[in-house]
């Protein structure tokens, strides 16, 4: 339990920037990177996670095109490097990336991007909501786990006093960040402020009042959350995000994912002590008219790819500090369904991007997709436990010793996809 303490550190005024009069408040960091001496001298390692909610079709994103069973089970959705079959990007003679991932391909060739295929959960549920819950709690057989695995990972990091250690760029705090460690959920950094339009005096009084009231409320959730908000506000008071512009030439897609990653990049550049960042991307539940080269899946995947590519380019000077990990709750049926889409399946694929990654490789132990090899005769079996990937990434990148302990009940070994495993 975190002991309750008074909010009143520097008084109500500290919560308010001077010029919040209509429009969007800018952010001026009280002292950019106050914890560090000299800019960049003590940069934190940052793990960025993207959850692809809705179960991404791993077989279409990174297609085992050399497998004849795939071609026959999904004739309307099959793609290959051949000109007439979508001209996907051949990675290694066996797997090919969907053309929508073109902007990520250079990272694969220069060895920073790894693909892990056949990934999933040992729990066979095909419910989105259960599977997401298990993947975020990190305990695939226990619904009663209160905390999320990312929150537990933050708990293993050296002490630090930034309220910005764990931030989710989502409207609600995701399950993976539930727990004892302070975590922020902010849908939009630009609106993260206490505002009373046009009346600074009134604003000051309101801020003081809210501090007092939330300090004494008997509702623990309201109390704890308000404390975290006020702490974060104090650190980010008076700011100007314009001091941290986009790297020249970078254009993010104007989509929820693009905007979230842009804000994560800003927080990294601001050096506010960010160590774990989370965001999500929707629209992967492609039961209907999934499309191939064009269509719903291709559009979504292009947004995914272009957003990450822009994020990476924007980070330029910070790339050594950042690793990006993607995840999705499960994959989709090998065969196409009756409506030009795919139904809920088992294993999918994920990506890991970073300078610490042993990339340029598809890590996988998949078997041929013949019917006798499929789970329940229909789905790609899980041959790599998602915890083997997550533990490898946090163990290495965040220097957490015995990362498997983040996943109670897990005894597998990490996938050797990081440089200093």
């Amino acid at each position: 339990m975190i002991p309750r303490r008074a909010f009143m550190k520097s008084g109500a005024i500290a919560l308010f920037a001077a010029g919040f009069q209509g429009g969007i408040p800018g952010f001026l960091l009280r002292a950019a990177g106050a914890e560090t001496t000299g800019k960049g001298a003590n940069k934190k390692k940052v793990l960025v996670c993207i959850f692809q909610r809705g179960a991404m079709d791993g077989l279409m994103a990174v297609t085992p095109f050399a497998d004849p069973a795939l071609r026959s089970l999904r004739p309307g959705l099959f793609m290959s490097p051949a000109e007439k079959e979508g001209k996907i990007i051949d990675l290694d003679g066996k797997f090919g990336m969907h053309p929508s991932l073109q902007s990520l391909y250079p990272f694969f060739t220069d060895g920073r991007l790894a693909v892990v295929h056949g990934v999933g959960s040992p729990n066979t549920t095909r419910s989105h909501f259960d599977a997401q819950d298990y993947m975020e709690s990190g305990t695939p057989f226990s619904k009663s786990t209160q905390s999320g695995w990312l929150n537990r990972a933050v708990g293993k990091l050296p002490e630090a006093h930034s309220p910005f250690r764990a931030v989710s760029l989502t409207a609600a705090l995701p399950r993976c960040l539930y727990g004892d460690q302070e975590s922020l959920a902010i849908a939009n950094l630009q609106e993260f402020a206490l505002q009373v339009r046009g009346n600074p005096m009134a604003a000051k009084v309101a801020a003081g009042s809210f501090e007092q009231l939330y300090d004494v409320t008997t509702n623990d959730l309201l109390n704890k959350t308000a404390r975290e908000s006020f702490d974060a506000l104090q650190q980010l008071k008076q700011a100007n995000m314009k001091s941290y512009p986009l790297t020249a030439g970078v254009v993010y897609p104007n989509t929820p994912l693009g905007n979230s990653l842009k804000q994560i990049a800003t927080l990294i550049k601001m050096n506010v002590g960010l160590e774990v960042a989370f965001t999500e991307s929707g629209g992967w539940d492609t039961h209907f008219n999934q499309g191939t080269l064009n269509g719903a899946f291709a559009r979504n995947l292009k947004d995914f790819s272009d957003s990450i590519a822009a994020f990476w380019a924007d980070l330029s000077a910070y790339q050594d500090e950042v690793t990006l990990l993607t995840m999705t709750e499960f994959g989709r049926t090998v065969h196409q369904n009756g409506t030009g889409g795919t139904d809920h399946g088992r294993a999918s694929c994920l990506w890991v991007l970073g300078n610490d990654v042993l990339g340029g490789k598809v890590y996988q132990q998949m078997k041929p997709l013949n019917k006798e090899n499929l789970e329940d005769g229909r789905d790609v079996p899980v041959t790599t436990d998602f915890r083997s990937v997550f533990s490898a990434v946090v163990g290495n990148h965040l220097s957490i010793t015995q990362p498997e302990q983040l996943f109670p009940g897990f005894s597998g070994s990490p996938v050797p996809l990081m440089k200093r495993s």
């Binding site: 009069q21 209509g22 429009g23 909610r53 549920t125 095909r126 419910s127 989105h128 909501f129 259960d130 409207a171 609600a172 705090l173 922020l184 959920a185 902010i186 849908a187 939009n188 609106e191 993260f192 402020a193 206490l194 505002q195 009373v196 339009r197 046009g198 009346n199 005096m201 009134a202 009084v205 309101a206 009042s209 809210f210 007092q212 009231l213 939330y214 004494v216 409320t217 509702n219 959730l221 309201l222 109390n223 959350t225 308000a226 975290e228 908000s229 974060a232 506000l233 539940d285 039961h287 209907f288 008219n289 369904n337 009756g338 409506t339 030009g340 889409g341 139904d343 809920h344 329940d376």
Partner: protein, 655 residues
């Protein structure tokens, strides 16, 4: 039911008479069954009334606690369970001129509010763009031309339909006298969630709430299940409209018929005709027509989310079998000149012959020639071959009557109305009523309020309001007049709840920690201040009238009076003590007043383009509504400040 005993003859009549002597015919059996054990749980009548209001309304209005006390708690609750209070005032707030869609059929809506695909077709048909240059429509000048074109054709954009949907929800929640009906409409819509985020269901969400949810929220659970299952919004949202099978007699015949082949050729020719403005759309429909298989999406969610619950004991096998039982459950063509209607016409008499076993109920269409005729086993029950339309109905009946459904639904109700973690004792008792009454929702709610758990002091104020509930309760508590509901919607969105856009079929989670996080909590405080200080356009609020224009003599008195008005029956002594010093700072009141008079706030314009049309219509009313806000005499500034702080305070977030 008792009315059938009207003619007392012989012994039966005598018995009936004796029976009647104890329960006179004029009494309401529902009301008779309400026995609220609040005294036993240590609550005063006043506290119990406040608790009832906090759970079964969108928030108490001023003096409503007294009204409930005068009426009697049981009477008030029975009245709410009946949901028959006159709504004249409410309907005046939803005039047909501003809300024409509220009375339209799906067919009329499809013909009037164009979705993206319809707008595209219109643009191509009128040669604004060609099919190869659709991307031009992202340019402002082309958009303007398209809008002009739509206007000429008497069409409006879909956003206008969505505006009416969202605004009516806010108006009803804030002003309906039948509050429980609104609370339950919100609950059941969320339970059977559909979303504006999915293109195919967008045009049907308004009628879904109106026709499939609202009339049945206090009736029988099965009724909700079947109405939602057969509404176009759900059929499209969870893809069942496209789930088909060739395992039937007609499909087998078609395989061999030369006439069928000719029709097929004719249709394919139509779809290949580049002179047909609907060619692209026709190809899509054709592709869908030629699709030959199951889509498990609805079948899975109807068990996981609507009835049994994820731990309700069904298997992947059951999912597939339910999907098969529901093949052919689809939507009749609603657009007269749409691609589906064109294809139907092209198929001609051949289609009609196959259609003799079709079933049409409103806009639901059972397509016999797309149904799987095979034998099925679902949750251990056998369904013989050739069950037709009735087979799907029986499956839904089986699911509605399943004990796992009773437990799952009752637990969800208990979470909504009692606390986030209800005891199994309470849930079991509610579930027993559910099974005994075959899913009578009124009876289940009565069992709930008759249970001590509902009145447990620890359960009071234990729920955290959703952003929607917070905004509506602020309107109700202050008696505010809302002229522009969409402005309220913008704030609800900012606080983390985009009404009607939750994309997952689960609906919004009903848990405090989903709603409360760093970003959203600050916006709740910001909302309180903006709302009370008159900074939300189209919302008129007279804080001084709340207290009948009696001006409190001091900041402390203002806090006391307004806390009691806005948060009846809650102990606020500690909060008031803490705030008094702050507000008593010398000259503060004057400074606030000065600051307010110096600066006229810029209008809030962050309402997005959805509001563009509406803004014009209401610009004038808006000016009237806001005009005298800054000119209020006396210490209105201080009262607004106090009201805003109370609305943004932790206590006001709880219900």
């Amino acid at each position: 039911m008792r009315k059938s005993f009207r003619v007392p003859v012989g012994i039966v009549g005598l018995l009936a008479l004796i029976f009647w002597a104890f329960t006179p015919p004029s009494t309401d059996p529902v009301k008779e069954s309400i026995k609220m054990p609040y005294k036993k749980m240590g609550l005063t009548k006043e506290q119990a009334a406040a608790h009832l209001l906090s759970r079964f309304t969108m928030g108490a209005t001023p003096q409503q606690v007294n009204q409930v006390l005068n009426k009697g708690l049981e009477n008030w609750f029975a009245e709410q369970l009946n949901g028959q209070l006159p709504e004249d005032d409410l309907l005046r707030r939803l005039p047909e001129a501003n809300y024409p869609a509220l009375k339209m059929s799906n067919e009329a809506i499809v013909a009037h509010y164009a979705n993206a695909a319809q707008a595209l077709r219109l643009a191509v048909k009128n040669q604004l763009v060609s099919r190869d240059s659709l991307q031009l429509l992202s340019k402002p000048e082309y958009r303007a031309q398209l809008q002009q074109l739509m206007k000429q054709q008497g069409l409006e954009p879909l956003q206008e339909l969505n505006r009416q949907l969202i605004n009516q929800k806010i108006i009803r929640a804030a002003y309906s006298p039948n509050q429980l009906q609104e609370v339950l409409t919100d609950f059941w819509f969320n339970h059977f969630n559909v979303s504006l985020s999915k293109g195919a269901s967008q045009q049907f969400v308004l009628t879904y709430e109106r026709d499939a949810i609202r009339p049945y929220v206090m009736g029988n659970f099965y009724e909700l299940l079947i109405r939602t299952a057969q509404h176009p919004a759900m059929l499209e949202f969870l893809d069942n409209a496209g789930s088909v099978s060739n395992n039937n007699e007609w499909s087998r015949k078609r395989e061999q018929s030369t006439a069928a082949k000719r029709v097929k050729q004719r249709i394919e020719k139509m779809a290949a005709d580049t002179n047909n403005s609907q060619q692209a759309a026709m190809q899509q429909v054709l592709a869908r027509t030629n699709m030959q298989g199951l889509n498990e999406n609805y079948a899975r969610e109807v068990m996981e989310l609507h009835t049994l619950g994820v731990d309700g004991g069904y298997s992947q096998q059951d999912v597939t079998q339910v999907a098969k039982a529901l093949t052919g459950w689809s939507v009749r063509p609603l657009s007269k000149d749409g691609p589906a209607a064109q294809l139907m016409q092209a198929a001609g008499p051949l289609a009609n012959r196959a259609n003799k076993d079709n079933v049409t109920i409103n806009d639901f269409l059972f397509r016999a020639n797309r149904h799987d005729e095979g034998e099925k086993t679902i949750l251990g029950k056998n369904y013989p071959a050739e069950g037709g339309y009735q087979e799907g109905v029986q499956v839904l009946q089986q699911l509605a009557a399943h004990p796992a459904t009773a437990t799952f639904i009752c637990k969800k109700l208990a979470i909504r109305f009692v606390k986030d973690t209800p005891t199994s004792l309470l849930v079991d008792q509610m579930a027993a009523t559910f099974l005994k009454t075959e899913g009578n929702i009124r009876a289940v709610l009565v069992t709930m309020v008759n249970h001590p758990d509902f009145w447990e002091p620890a359960a009071l104020r234990e729920k955290v309001k959703s952003p929607f509930e917070l905004a509506i309760s602020a309107i109700r508590a202050t008696g505010a007049e809302v002229m522009q509901p969409f402005q309220i919607n913008n704030w609800i969105t900012k606080m983390g709840q985009r009404l009607y856009y939750y994309a997952a079929p689960t609906g919004f989670p009903d848990r405090a920690n989903f709603w409360i996080n760093t970003g959203s909590l600050l916006n709740r405080m910001n909302f309180g201040m903006a709302f009370a200080t008159g900074k939300i356009p189209g919302v008129k609020l007279d804080v001084s009238a709340l207290n009948n224009h009696h001006e409190p003599a001091s900041a402390e008195e203002a806090l006391q009076v307004y806390s009691q008005l806005l948060l009846p029956q809650r102990d606020q002594a500690e909060n008031i003590r803490r705030l008094t010093n702050l507000l008593n700072e010398s000259g503060l009141e004057e400074k606030i007043q000065q600051a307010a008079s110096k600066q006229t706030p810029p209008p809030v314009t962050d309402d997005g383009e959805e509001m563009a049309i509406y803004k014009k219509q209401s610009a004038r009313r808006n000016a009237v509504a806001n005009g005298n806000m800054d000119a209020m005499p006396g210490n209105t500034g201080m009262l607004q400040q106090v009201t805003g702080i109370i609305i943004g305070s932790p206590e006001f977030q709880r219900r």
